[in-house]
Subunit: 403 residues, 2 copies
């Protein structure tokens, strides 16, 4: 596989006491790794160290010897704990120079905040000779890119928002300019109702070329299947794969992201359909306790009622003594829909089966038809809430998808 040998090797380097001590989960590393994977690069290592000069210098040298690219976050702040620039300068004998443009941008940033710029901030405008500044219009610390002995380093702040803005406005384009790799195309299949191992098995049975990278992300209860196509694949060829995979996944795919469509999640999918069809919704939740409502857009969710205890719900809707089940859910949603001015209604009932299992009955209706489902849900309360609200959103999607 000669093309793999030519892929740039990337190290993701995170710094700072908050990450090393576990006070913060390092979400930057996953974001940066994913971006590099989408560019077709190979990520060989993630490293995190504390704010310690000797450790920083040692790691910078190690990384320089092992990788072509290093994406580095953290340690660019104004305090004495922020040592990155100095460590880079020491590790590779680059002197530091005051970047007057950077200083001016920082002054403007503080002026906009109507805050005085402290003297300690000036240090943030010191950059190594030969480096290229990466402007930060979202915070104070400018970043920079520079080559050590042989590896190209990109230094960015640890604040996720600032880092992501700098990636999108400078680093991603610069990486493509500096490292001439054909960017692959990512297609994401979003599915519900089919387990991860069944998806894996169904995909294994398809004849997928070995240069297409396949990965899964098991959500709860959404599952993602991702295919990364090398650049030489034609539009038709990719379309054929999409059709095959949708068939193999037996109708569980609710959206395909990245091929002319952008659908980021099940709530996003429902939101697009509700908006396109100009619909409104009234909602009655029980087990999910408001978790459906908070995922709806206020433009089309008119009203939600939440009854954590199904008995209270039965009393409210005059159904005392009736048997809880899918049939009752359908009866109630039809009655509710008949009385309401919204285009759609949804109701959720549930019954406790064991300490950790409940049966969830969901029904949705519009003025023409209704759909309903029964599903056993296990696990901790929070998991049950999450699954129950996804079941509801998915049923609503099925009702409106074909409008």
């Amino acid at each position: 596989m000669p093309d793999i040998m030519n892929k740039p090797r990337v190290v993701i380097f995170s710094q700072g006491d908050e990450v090393i001590t576990g006070a913060l989960v390092d979400t930057n590393a996953a974001y940066l790794a994913e971006q590099c994977r989408l560019l077709g690069f190979d990520i060989v290592r993630h490293v995190t160290v504390a704010d310690d000069m000797a450790e920083l210098i040692q790691v910078l040298k190690e990384v320089d010897a092992m990788a072509d690219i290093c994406l580095c976050t953290g340690g660019l702040g104004p305090t004495q704990d922020d040592l990155t620039t100095e460590a880079f300068s020491e590790a590779f004998q680059k002197t530091l120079e005051m970047d007057l443009e950077a200083l001016e941008m920082m002054r403007e940033f503080f002026a906009k905040l109507k805050a005085p710029m402290a003297d300690v901030n000036k240090k943030q405008a010191l950059l190594p000779t030969g480096s290229v500044r990466i402007d930060n219009r979202w915070g104070t610390a400018p970043g920079f890119t520079a080559v050590g002995q042989q590896c190209r380093f990109y230094f960015m702040p640890g604040v996720p928002f600032e880092m992501q803005q700098m990636m999108e406005t400078f680093v991603l384009a610069d990486l493509q300019r500096q490292f001439n790799v054909d960017q692959p195309q990512l297609i994401t299949f979003r599915s519900m109702g089919m387990g991860e191992s069944s998806i894996q098995q169904a995909v294994d049975e398809l004849d997928i070329a070995s240069d297409i990278r396949i990965s899964f992300r098991a959500g709860m209860p959404e599952n993602e299947l991702k295919l990364l196509f090398p650049k030489h694949y034609s539009h038709q060829h990719i379309q054929a794969y999409i059709d095959d995979i949708k068939g193999a996944l037996l109708g569980s795919v609710f959206a395909v992201d990245g091929f002319g469509q952008s659908v980021k999640s099940l709530p996003d999918c429902v939101d697009q359909l509700m908006a396109k069809n100009n619909l409104t919704l009234a909602l009655i939740e029980s087990l999910s306790q408001g978790d459906i409502a908070r995922q709806c857009h206020p433009a089309w969710l008119r009203q939600a009622e939440v009854y954590p205890n199904v008995d209270d719900l039965m009393v409210k809707f005059g159904a005392e003594g009736k048997e809880v089940g899918e049939g009752l859910a359908v009866d109630l949603v039809k009655a509710h829909q008949a009385q309401h001015a919204t285009n759609c209604s949804l109701i959720q009932l549930y019954e406790r089966k064991t300490d950790s299992t409940v049966a969830v009955y969901t029904a949705v209706a519009n003025h023409h038809s209704e759909l309903s489902s029964t599903k056993e849900v296990w696990g901790r309360p929070l998991r049950q809430q999450t699954v129950a609200s996804a079941l509801a959103l998915n049923l609503l999607r099925q009702l409106i998808q074909d409008l």
Copy 2:
């Protein structure tokens, strides 16, 4: 600082393609680092590599040379990608032996699942000579602990739940046995309504001894201030610090965790108070759209109504044409409380001020009194939801805390 020199040096080592490519955020590393910090150890590095034999062997040797302890997750599964045990065996010339007890436990685990055990699983019972098995009663892969050249390694599965169970049932106790360090005491102040920089400034002005480690975690909108006291601090001494800090934080502290009390979050605090006082709640949400309801315990939340659009709420409660504000929130919550059998009622109204700012009016009442607040909230819709529901829970807490 001689005691710091004696602290064991820890490396956190995560393995696997899902973490290295960014498909998964590595939450294990933060969990393990936090546990080690609470034991009084020093975390010097986090490293992540892909499932690659040469890389694994190299990293194991590097870690062995640099650390006293390595906590390692991932790579213990049955497939050909799972290389950890073999890599350890190669790196330090330890032969692998079939652990018959481990094999028997795996057979029992599969029998309980009523699933056949595949031949590939047998490999998971192969452990290096001289290692001590770490039982896994929550999955198939047993873990193990063994010394390389000089560093003690603990190998655990990458599934967070299995890893955490093994930490709690074996690893933490073993670490304390093997590494005789005086365990410090962690006190966490949970606060709302005071910004991170104000907290930092207030704490700076107190005279806190330099051997107490201070850290912050800025939540949204909860903030945590943590103090890690070395073992030699007496109960009285710690209590005096707690009193000082609560005073300095001007009433923003709603709970102190770790000193005879366990309060994990604002919803947990409210839950404990509602249960202790045997109260029930009826709820009317607008901006937060169900986000309050889902954080309440079903034992005491009787009913919630959600109106994303305040106009719909006004119609429902016969308040059309009235001015939206804190006063109206108080009137509505008092009327609502008078008509309902619950012990407490809460209502939330809001008004859009600019594209990204809303004013949130919250009022709570019981049969004796009421409390209300007005707060401007900015940011993206999800942030506004989160802040609005925290404001509501905090007001409810204030109402019931003194019962």
